[in-house]
């Protein structure tokens, strides 16, 4: 049994790990990837110590620091449930099961999905969630972008130089993005904008061939070979557990990183912390391990008193 299991390895999880290593805790890190949302962040100008750094570079620095401490890392695992049985916390993933006395959940946020037919089936077969990664593969093709915020407009502008025609499908009546970006979109003759429209399904053969779009009570088919989903992020908190979450699915924590379940702590973007920032996530990760460490000390003292 571990003292501590840390779920996630973005800024919060990595910082939590560095603190756990320094406290010589017997701990394990379980994560899908290392870096989380920071990997996709292009320019960072508000992380103290760096006037400018890219997300990928900052993650590289994090990894270097993590490698200084011998961390047991399970990468590419998805946590399915976290349950407390008497004083033991049980973590079940898609590959194995683990036990710990305390847990820090720092699973962050993941791209929000449309939740429509064809989305899973055509993932990486035309449906993409990372314009920076996959846009170059759609050279000369007709594509669609779902969303109406800065990230959707940013993806569209990246595609303007690559694709033949871009259909930007926004669920809202108007964009929720920076005016500078809206102007660029509206002045491009390659972009067709659909407001108050929704994508009903994605169809194709081996790859995406088109979308069914509904707007103003009418449905029509839009032949495209790609769909970039850019409708924001959601907390990665969909595992089975008794912890309290708010209406957005964020794990509720108090100012000491404690969740509603004793021994279960949480940090960073997966929580209801007010600021979703890299530097805040790092601080919250540090706080969570310190709180978990104190909790374990108190538990040990209680055991001794018995």
């Amino acid at each position: 049994m571990y003292d501590l299991i840390i779920v996630g390895a973005g800024p919060a999880g990595i910082t939590a790990s560095i603190y756990a290593a320094r406290k010589r805790m017997n701990f394990l890190v379980i994560t899908g990837n290392i870096g989380g949302q920071t990997l996709w962040t292009t320019n960072i100008e508000n992380y103290t110590g760096y006037q400018f750094i890219t997300g990928a570079e900052l993650v590289q620095k994090f990894i270097e620091q993590l490698e200084q401490s011998r961390v047991q890392l399970r990468q590419g695992e998805k946590v399915l449930s976290i349950k407390k049985e008497s004083e033991t916390l049980k973590v079940t993933t898609d590959k194995a099961a683990y036990e710990a006395r305390a847990i820090v959940i720092a699973s962050g946020k993941i791209p929000r999905k449309l939740g429509i037919p064809g989305e899973e089936e055509y993932r990486n077969k035309g449906v993409a969630y990372c314009a920076a990664c996959d846009a170059p593969l759609f050279s000369g093709m007709d594509v669609a972008v779902a969303g109406g915020g800065n990230s959707a407009l940013d993806a569209t502008l990246q595609l303007v130089n690559i694709a033949r025609r871009i259909h930007l499908i926004d669920a809202s009546p108007r964009f929720k993005a920076d005016p500078v970006m809206i102007e660029k979109i509206e002045s491009s003759d390659k972009v067709a904008v659909y407001h108050a429209a929704s994508i009903e399904r994605i169809y194709g053969d081996s790859f995406v061939r088109g979308l069914t779009v509904s707007q103003a009570g009418k449905s029509f088919e839009l032949p495209v070979q790609g769909l970039f989903v850019e409708i924001g992020y959601m907390p990665a908190s969909d595992f089975d557990s008794d912890i309290s979450r708010n209406a957005y699915g964020e794990i509720m924590v108090n100012c000491n990183s404690q969740t509603s379940v004793p021994g279960l702590f949480a940090a960073g973007d997966v929580t209801d912390v007010s600021a979703k920032q890299i530097i805040v996530a790092c601080g919250e990760g540090a706080k969570a391990t310190i709180a978990a460490f104190s909790y374990l000390e108190r538990q040990a003292a209680k055991q001794e008193a018995l």
Partner: protein, 82 residues
Amino acid sequence: MSIKVYSTATCPFCTMAKNYFKKNNITFENIDVGNDPQQAQEMINKSGQMGVPVIDIDGTLIIGFDQQAIEKALKPAPAEKK
């Protein structure tokens, strides 16, 4: 052993995959499919994927940066050291 990394310049997981091979002194060929439509098509035909990275280790295709899958694919023959 022949290793190909199909990537784009701006994709973080491609960079992580390439860094992994570099760190372990494993020779690989980087194919920037963003600049080479013919290679992009080859990647799509081979993998059925329109997403990068795709890693080809002696014919074993790995989708995304999956370190465990890479290590498994490397195992049968010991990694070629520079």
